[in-house]
Amino acid sequence: MISIRNLYKTIGPQRILQGVDLEVDAGETVVVVGRSGGGKSVLLKHIIGLMKPTSGDVCVDDESVVGLSERELVRIRKKIGILFQSGALFDSMTVEENLAFPLREAGEKDENIIAGKVAEVLEVVNLAGQQNKMPESLSGGMRKRVGLARAIISYPRCVLYDEPTTGLDPIAADSINHLIRRLQKKFQITSIVVTHDMKSAFHVGDRIAYLHAGKLYFTGTTEDFAASTDPLIRDFVEGRSRETE
């Protein structure tokens, strides 16, 4: 469904991505892991055209998104939902208005249908009855769940998760992991999860891609990644910096 070919991205003097290749099939979940600031979020933003590559190509359903104008990208973006690291909720709107936003923008005028869908997705993310709250009164975990509810309310075929468990307590993080799994099973959604939380990666991923120094150092099944004896991968999985006191 998503194909990334020889992707390069340079921002100022920094070479963020240096030839990334990744294929994601329909229905599978690929987790992109790597160190903070390594370009994982940048990679994710290229998929829906929020960033333009220096060179290389990104295809969604065999259609290149590189070179499409903002207006042409609307068609691609309707197929893909994204959960931003911060949730990216509209802070001047209630939870209900945030969730209703994509529906209203898609032309839905029947308020009963909108209210029904909002209630339904809030139930999916275990936030039933929170319609009237403002984003500022929600905890970090709740905000991410509302962001996720907004990403899935239009039933996209693919969801991109940018650090879904970062900044959450272990229980909230586990709850988000279960939620991602539940969505995969319930809606057969293709997912790309960007994280440096290995517990989350092993929990939700079918495959893992390890981004290191701007390239995919490893791409394979979750089991192969866990069993790898490569020192670079072991250091990352076990959280070893090799620094001494």
């Binding site: 933003k45 829906i48 929020l50 903002e70 207006r71 990208l73 609307v74 068609r75 973006r77 309707k78 893909i80 939902g81 994204i82 931003f84 690291q85 911060s86 990216a88 909720l89 509209f90 802070d91 936003f101 994509p102 923008e105 907004r150």
Partner: protein
């Protein structure tokens, strides 16, 4: 070295100008090709038009009052006190009304627009809009531009009207100018051409303020300093643009809408 610096500055200025013009062009394209969100336009009209009335009326009123007083102090010595009404009315329509309204809006509305859009940018809300398949210019700039285009000429008219009323109060009630002479001279030397100039200037200033402010917001840098700087720059650039454009607009419009009878 100096020439290099001047050239660099000029290039930066042209680059900035190009970006603002492109945003304006994009907005025009959006207005004619994308659905207009009228609810947002009305919300913005409330913000831009309704909520700016007090500041515009007070500014216009006190400027008209002090202008009438100063004019009277000078003209009375020449025995021309009754000409105060004409001077105040022509000045309020042709210059003071549009410029003062433009400056007030650049401060009040321009700062708010750039701060709001800047905050949305750094908190990924604009990326959120794009990811949801909504073009930010359609959603953020078009409603603000339409609200400004519709509200500003009306605010200019209010400002000028309030200035003339205040001038009348100062001239007739406080300085004892006969009311009939005040009004008669005012009507004799003020025409529809002066009102036209006020409205055209108001319309042009509304475009300057909205595109400069939205551009500053869209280009706000990350962090509190970046978001804080956006409205400051929007107000400074917007105010200067109003003042500079006013001069050239006056010279240009005077060819089409000449002053005097």
């Amino acid at each position: 070295m100096l020439i290099e610096k001047i050239g660099e500055g000029l290039l930066k200025f042209l680059h900035y100008l190009g970006e603002v013009v492109l945003l304006a062009w994009d907005t025009v394209v959006s207005i004619f090709t994308a659905p207009i969100r009228w609810r947002l336009v009305l919300n913005q009209m409330q913000e831009v038009g309704y909520r700016s009335q007090l500041v515009v009326l007070v500014t216009g009123g006190f400027t008209g009052a002090v202008f009438a007083a100063q004019t009277y102090f000078q003209f009375a010595r020449l025995g021309m006190g009754s000409a105060v009404g004409a001077v105040v009315a022509v000045s309020m329509f042709r210059e003071l009304g549009p410029v003062l309204t433009g400056l007030m809006l650049a401060g009040r509305v321009g700062a708010a627009m750039s701060a709001e859009i800047g905050t949305m940018k750094v908190t990924e809300q604009i990326d959120g809009l794009r990811a949801l398949g909504v073009y930010p210019v359609d959603y953020l700039v078009v409603p603000r531009a339409l609200a400004m285009m519709l509200s500003t000429p009306l605010l200019v008219a209010e400002c000028a009207g309030m200035g003339i009323l205040a001038g009348y109060f100062v001239g007739v009630v406080m300085m004892d100018i006969p009311g009939a002479y005040f009004v008669d001279n005012m009507l004799k030397f003020t025409g529809i051409r002066d009102i036209e100039m006020a409205l055209v200037k108001g319309f042009v200033f509304s475009l300057l303020i909205v595109f400069i402010s939205c551009h500053q917001g869209q280009n706000a840098r990350e962090g509190a300093v970046g978001v804080g700087r956006a409205p400051t720059e929007a107000v400074v650039i917007g105010s200067l643009a109003v003042l500079v454009t006013n001069f050239f607009l006056t010279m240009l419009l005077n060819a089409f809408i000449p002053a005097g009878v």
